[in-house]
């Protein structure tokens, strides 16, 4: 049983909830986007199976997550992955990094999109939760349990959150960097004496991880903004409509 009175336990709980809202919510958004052009009956089916797959994969992965992280070097790999996911979260969409370019207005296309997204994002989510759980299986199970309602109902919540409070995205990227940085130095391949050589070494690594993710994410985003300015989605309607037509 974890120590319910310790601050670090509750900090982990909060971190896990934040991760689930962002990564589980993003998974839900991808499913909703992939299905939105389908006829209604197919859309509901697509969303149902997409959500089912996302949750099933997460439950399946719990079992492996903690064991994998005990193997030397795998924490380092997981940590680097987390830093990269953090950057991806901060970086806004761009033209050349779209998946599935031919479009998925068919059921088959939507299914392909959803399977790939579910697989990749479940792994992301579980690694992040395992990193925040610090080896506690109860926390990992809790984290996955929290992600389930978010994957089912969270797409609107996450879209609204990102629209109203865009800083949430940056904070989420920083959190993933924080967890990744801490994970990096606790890999079993690294001798514990290294960590203890620097006072507050784990916190320092976490802080550096967060800083790295935010700096790289913001830097890449600003470079892209300079390259391509805003996108105007309505070039066809730029000729002023004659007023009065509605009267």
């Amino acid at each position: 049983m974890p120590d319910l009175t310790s601050a670090s336990f509750w900090i982990s709980v909060l971190q896990i909830i934040a991760i689930d809202i962002l990564l589980g919510g993003d998974n839900a958004v991808v499913i909703a986007l992939a299905c939105r052009k389908l006829p209604e009956a197919q859309r509901n089916k697509g969303i149902f199976w997409g959500v089912f797959g996302a949750i099933g994969l997460r439950i399946l992965l719990i079992y492996f997550a903690l064991q994998l992280l005990a193997i030397p070097y795998l924490k380092i790999v997981g940590a680097l992955l987390l830093l990269w996911i953090g950057v991806k979260l901060i970086l806004p969409e761009n033209e050349d990094a779209h998946g599935n370019v031919q479009g998925s207005s068919t059921l088959l296309g939507a299914i392909k999109t959803i399977i790939v997204a579910d697989a990749v994002m479940s792994v992301d989510n579980v690694i992040a939760v395992a990193g925040a759980a610090h080896g506690s299986i109860i926390l990992v199970v809790f984290g996955i349990a929290v992600s389930i309602p978010i994957v089912v109902w969270g797409s609107k919540l996450v879209l609204a959150l990102m629209d109203r409070f865009p800083v949430v995205i940056t904070a989420g990227g920083a959190l993933l960097g924080w967890i990744g940085g801490g994970m990096l130095v606790t890999d079993p391949a690294l001798p514990a004496s290294w960590r203890d050589a620097v006072p507050y070494g784990a916190y320092l690594a976490s802080g550096l991880g967060a800083l790295l993710v935010v700096t790289v994410g913001k830097w890449l985003a600003s470079r892209k903004r300079a390259a391509a300015a805003s996108i105007d989605l309505t070039p066809a309607r730029t000729t002023p409509t004659q007023g009065g037509s509605a009267q």
């Binding site: 996911i85 969409e93 805003s230 409509t241």
Partner: protein, 142 residues
């Protein structure tokens, strides 16, 4: 110089008051105003868009933008005022400012506080940044 007004709208109550202001000014003005009705949406994180084709993402933005502009459009149309509609993707304040410059607008009109983050009590954060970034006159409607 012909007056080109950029009217930035996000579906909030203050934005609609800005629309009403433009309607009044436009009806009172001797020269016809050119109105560019603009809605800016944040880009989705690439964590999401890496899986989804750009046409679907743009469709999503277009529909959301259309919904955000609907009430403003209705008010302009009932008043019989000509306008053009633009749905943009990017960081709201710099996107509005760049768009106004690129299209040779002579003035930016917007609500004092929209749906953005709560960072100022009287002026919304997007409005504050637009005022800070642009060289154009900005009309802020409370």
């Amino acid at each position: 110089m012909k007056p080109w007004w950029l009217l930035a709208v996000d579906g909030s109550a203050a934005a609609l008051r800005a629309v009403d202001h433009v309607v009044r000014e436009s009806l009172a003005s001797a020269v016809p105003l050119k109105i560019l009705l603009v809605n800016v949406q944040h880009a989705l994180p690439s964590d999401i868009t890496r899986f989804v084709s750009s046409s679907i993402v743009q469709d999503y933005h277009r529909e959301t933008g259309d919904a955000n502009l609907a009430s403003a459009r209705a008010r302009l149309e009932t008043a019989g005022i000509a306008y053009s509609q633009h749905i943009l993707i990017g960081e709201p304040a710099p996107t509005i400012v760049d768009f106004a410059r690129e299209h040779g607008c002579t003035q930016i009109v917007m609500g004092a506080r929209g749906l953005g983050t709560v960072s100022g009590l009287l002026l919304g954060s997007v409005t504050q940044r637009v005022v800070h970034l642009t060289d154009l006159p900005v009309v802020i409607v409370k």
